[in-house]
């Protein structure tokens, strides 16, 4: 092995620099193909998970249990969370399903659909929401909602024809408000429990837009105003977003479940709250990424094989001479394996520097503008280590086989070039 290393190091040091650079470059590209391509594919979905957490759920999301209108025991739960040392902020949200009428004066003609949509009206505390989600960053037009606002509403862009990304999609059942913009009045109405209708007019103060549906498809007023509209259960909220350490979220969920024993509520970490279809897409993208990585691995192994094979064939005479003067075939094989490993290690090292030093920070700052997410590069040290191990194993085999083929040839035939 020592002689193999000796030969390999000298060959690498004194053979053509261009060849070494070219092979190393191929190995870098292979590494990037292994880590970055699949990382970007997965990152398109993971970006949406990240946005869901940052724009809506926090690290823990508590919502009404199935079949319930609100989170039971809400006031005590809010007090529990506010006093929890690991909770840095919470945002309780009131939500009610409403009908929103866009045209207050013109009644629809015969065979005309009314300019009306069904929408979730959410009452928020703007200051608390700002701490959890930085809500003001979603304001695309108009002015932000403020604590003392009355009769003012922020509308999700995807519910207004002028701003919606789906306006030209003609999706069956999708209704959008037409001829509605900032400063216009809309009428909100919803059924009162026990009969009757609550109705109130709001002025559109701003348009909010995000790749998170919970922002772009809802209407927002202050929680204080919504509480006034609600006839009953004024203190019971429909959702609470909780900000805590990401790593602590599971523990907090468990603690909260213990606290809420006997009270109905759905308590989930942000990862649990993500819709399963998004998880399925993530799995699909991961499989696609792995398939692409496999192709990259095959290409890399063939490249290394060809390079080592040509290298060994052109040096067949010298291999014969080495065997002739008593250098063991194993030592000669090791020299080629070391060379292959060198290409793999250097290529991987450069790939790691590029990935974690340049590409990952770049995509964190400038994510890919994907329609339903801001795509990031998902690359972990553990994942990269596994891929490096696979790459090196493949490289090692690709270096060993051609060396073995050439070294096993008859010594004298090699020396005489027969």
């Amino acid at each position: 092995m020592r002689v193999g290393f000796f030969l390999a190091s000298r060959q690498l040091k004194r053979s053509g620099k261009g060849t070494t650079i070219l092979i190393t470059f191929i190995m870098v590209l292979t590494f990037l193909n292994l880590v970055v391509v699949s990382g970007l594919l997965v990152g398109l979905i993971s970006g949406s998970f990240k946005q869901f957490r940052e724009a809506y759920s926090g690290e823990v999301l508590i919502t009404s249990a199935d079949g319930r209108d609100y989170i039971e025991n809400s006031p005590a739960l809010i007090a529990f969370l506010e006093s929890h040392p690991k909770v840095s902020a919470i945002s309780p949200r009131y939500s009610v399903g409403v009908q929103m009428l866009g045209s207050l004066t013109d009644l629809p003609g015969k065979n005309e659909k009314p300019n009306r949509i069904g929408i979730t009206l959410t009452g928020i505390d703007p200051d608390r929401e700002e701490v959890i989600t930085g809500f003001s960053r979603f304001l695309k037009y108009g002015e932000p909602l403020e604590e003392g606002d009355e009769g003012q509403v922020l509308l999700g862009a995807n519910m207004i024809k002028k701003y919606s990304s789906f306006a030209d999609a003609n999706i069956p059942g999708l209704s959008l408000l037409e001829d509605v913009d900032i400063g216009n009045r809309v009428r909100v109405s919803f059924s009162r429990e026990g009969g009757g209708v609550v109705s109130k007019e709001f002025i559109i103060k701003g348009i909010v837009k995000s790749k998170v549906d919970e922002i772009s498809t809802r209407a927002f007023i202050t929680d204080r105003e919504l509480k006034k509209l609600l006839p009953v259960n004024k203190e019971q909220v429909q959702a609470i977003a909780v900000k805590t350490d990401y790593e602590y979220a599971t523990t907090l969920v468990a603690e909260t479940k213990v606290f809420m024993e006997g009270h109905a509520a759905r308590i989930q970490t942000t990862d649990e709250a993500i819709p399963s279809f998004l998880r399925d897409i993530e799995t699909t993208f991961r499989i696609l990424g792995n398939a692409l990585s496999s192709v990259a691995l095959i290409v890399a192994s063939i490249t290394v094989f060809i390079v080592i094979f040509i290298n060994a064939v052109t040096k067949r005479k010298f291999i014969g001479i080495m065997k002739g003067i008593g250098i063991s075939p194993q030592a000669i094989q090791f020299s080629y394996i070391f060379q292959a490993l060198f290409y793999g290690v250097v290529g991987s090292a450069i790939g790691v520097i590029l990935t974690f030093g340049i590409l990952k920070p770049y995509f964190d700052i400038y994510p890919i503008d994907f329609p339903f997410s801001d795509g990031i590069l998902v690359a972990t040290a553990e994942g990269a280590a596994i891929r490096i191990a696979i790459l090196l194993a493949v490289t090692l085999i690709a270096g060993y086989i051609p060396a073995k083929i050439i070294v096993r040839r008859n010594t004298l035939d090699s020396i005489l070039g027969r």
Partner: protein, 229 residues
């Protein structure tokens, strides 16, 4: 030291069979400087390959230090080549990526010596053939004669019992050829090195103490000289 008995080497079979060595028998004793000469195609290089364990005879026996080499495995032959034999090839056969010092040190490292020991021994070998000042040059920075002398240093650095040389002056001009032959003679006279050399040039064969002449695979003469030129 080395003995061959009824050594036959053929290539091909049937009508295409070519008998290159025809039942050769002779012995080389320790300390001898033997030149094998003969015209092209006489089988002298083929004989050297059998003697140096680079090839296997079709029949007959090569015995080295009492060891019947026909019974050895490939690995055992490799070990013997590394430990007991040294080679000087016609075209120098230095590894192009290694310096002169590294080329010479390679077999010594392979023997298990430390790098430092190997380089010391290699330097000594280069010094013996007057090439120590070129030890950091790679082969492409050396002339043909210098490369062949480095090749000799590599062949003797691990102190082999027998040094084999296959047409060592074939690619050299007359002046360099003489210098190489003088190096062989010095090795023989000063270190009592056993040398078996193939050449087709009588003036270089004259440096040897014994000349075996081969024609068509048969020994036609085997002469010992009392005095070196």
């Amino acid at each position: 030291m080395i003995k061959i008995e009824k050594l036959v080497k053929t290539y091909g079979s049937g009508e295409l069979e070519l008998v290159v060595l025809k039942s050769l028998t002779f012995e080389v004793k320790a300390g001898e400087f033997v030149a094998i000469i003969g015209p092209s195609g006489s089988g002298k290089s083929t004989l050297l390959y059998q003697l140096s364990l680079l090839d296997e005879p079709t029949s007959g026996e090569v015995t080295l230090d009492g060891i019947r080499t026909g019974e050895l495995s490939m690995q055992e032959k490799t070990d013997i080549r590394l430990g007991k034999l040294g080679y000087v090839f016609q075209d120098y056969a230095l590894l192009p990526e290694l310096t002169a010092l590294e080329n010479v040190a390679l077999p010594i490292i392979m023997q298990g010596h430390t790098m430092q020991e190997s380089y010391v021994k290699a330097s000594l070998a280069l010094e013996r053939i007057g090439m120590v000042d070129k030890k950091h040059n790679v082969p492409s920075q050396l002339s043909g004669g210098q490369q062949q002398r480095v090749s000799i240093a590599r062949a003797i650095a691990h102190e082999p019992q027998i040094l084999f040389a296959d047409e060592p002056t074939a690619n050299l001009d007359s002046a360099n050829g003489i210098r190489v032959m003088e190096a062989f003679r010095d090795l023989h006279t000063k270190s009592n090195q056993t040398i078996i050399m193939v050449t087709h040039e009588p003036e270089y064969a004259a440096f040897a103490g014994r000349i075996i002449t081969l024609v068509d695979g048969t020994i036609v003469s085997d002469e010992r000289k009392k005095d070196l030129p």
